[in-house]
Symmetry: C2
Subunit: 166 residues, 2 copies
DNA sequence: TCTTTTAAGTCAGTCTTGTTGACTTTCCAA
DNA sequence: TTGGAAAGTCAACAAGACTGACTTAAAAGA
């Protein structure tokens, strides 16, 4: 049916109309994306920022504060507030570096890992339903477009995490 | 090559690993998605909330405040602050309803339409590049997954806007 | 060794964007 | 004519981002 060759391509998918639909889809979908974890977080008076910190500490165990800062793309002061409450509440452990003792390495405690699992499972559940409804081909396209939409620093972080261990 | 039938399907795309990549892709891509308009807005000391209001007033000219409220999913007080500055600055016009004079119908002024165009063109440019890089099949999948990720009220709003006039 | 740089943390203040709650004004419709 | 809906306003608050200035500790370099 459609000619998807590299030269004789049908470019109708690049009209402003199509782009606008994609933009609105991103806006509305992102709300769904964050809705379930947000509900859980609200119950325990945490916010989205806590979720993000837990997620990336879990993904890159033993990461330094500086690295987390650059992944999250926020300032040190902003992260510090969140990190402090997580440490005080016993969800995150901060260990002095052995090679470089200026650095702090961050780890989830058992309690922190439990909350992270709860939050990410809620988020995965919706994602799983969406993936299942859309099918594997759609999922591949979904990821391809998102990757092309990232700016360079984000893409670097994304790629670095992409194939790291569970 | 791949069997994508409804029963004998390969379900590897539903692993937690795959879902996690999708979640991280959404997180990093959303930053790219908002980055360009955010830069423009910062210069004129507006925020993302102003952009959203301008976008949907443009999309649904003459919409009422109540309708805009439900599309944006924020409280009346929150929207009102944003709307007030946009009206004061002459970007949005609020007309008393002729049929129901309690309602206000919202329109962009020439100046408001100009800013909206500038913001959305910046956003479209990135979207266009991503679409072009990923190709039409990927774009179709991208949209399909996003639509499946929305919660019900958002999907309603999305569908209502989807095929409305330019 | 002395100096500079880096990593982390802190204090103070600001801004945007969201929230509740209470209240008024306007005005349609039963 | 009165009840209730739509809109708007005021006040207070919170999360989460920001800047700027500063401290402490430790590594790295001259």
């Amino acid at each position: 049916m459609a000619d998807t060759g590299s030269t004789g391509e049908n470019l109708l998918f690049l009209t402003d109309e199509q782009l606008r639909k994609g933009i609105e889809a991103m806006f509305f979908a992102y709300r769904g994306f964050t809705a379930d974890p947000d509900r859980i977080l609200a119950e325990m008076s945490y916010g989205r920022a806590h979720h993000r910190a837990l997620h990336f500490i879990n993904r890159a165990r033993g990461t330094t504060v500086n690295n987390l800062l650059s992944v999250l793309g926020v300032t040190k002061q902003s992260l510090n507030r969140v990190l402090r409450t997580l440490i005080e509440d016993g969800l995150v452990e901060s260990r002095v570096g052995s090679r470089d003792r200026r650095e702090r390495h961050l780890y989830l405690t058992r309690k922190g890992a439990e909350l992270e699992r709860q939050l990410s499972e809620a988020q995965r559940a919706r994602m799983r339903a969406a993936y299942r409804a859309a099918g594997p081909e759609a999922v591949a396209g979904f990821r391809r477009v998102l990757e092309a939409m990232m700016d360079e620093p984000s893409r670097q972080h994304y790629q670095a995490l992409k194939d790291s261990k569970p």
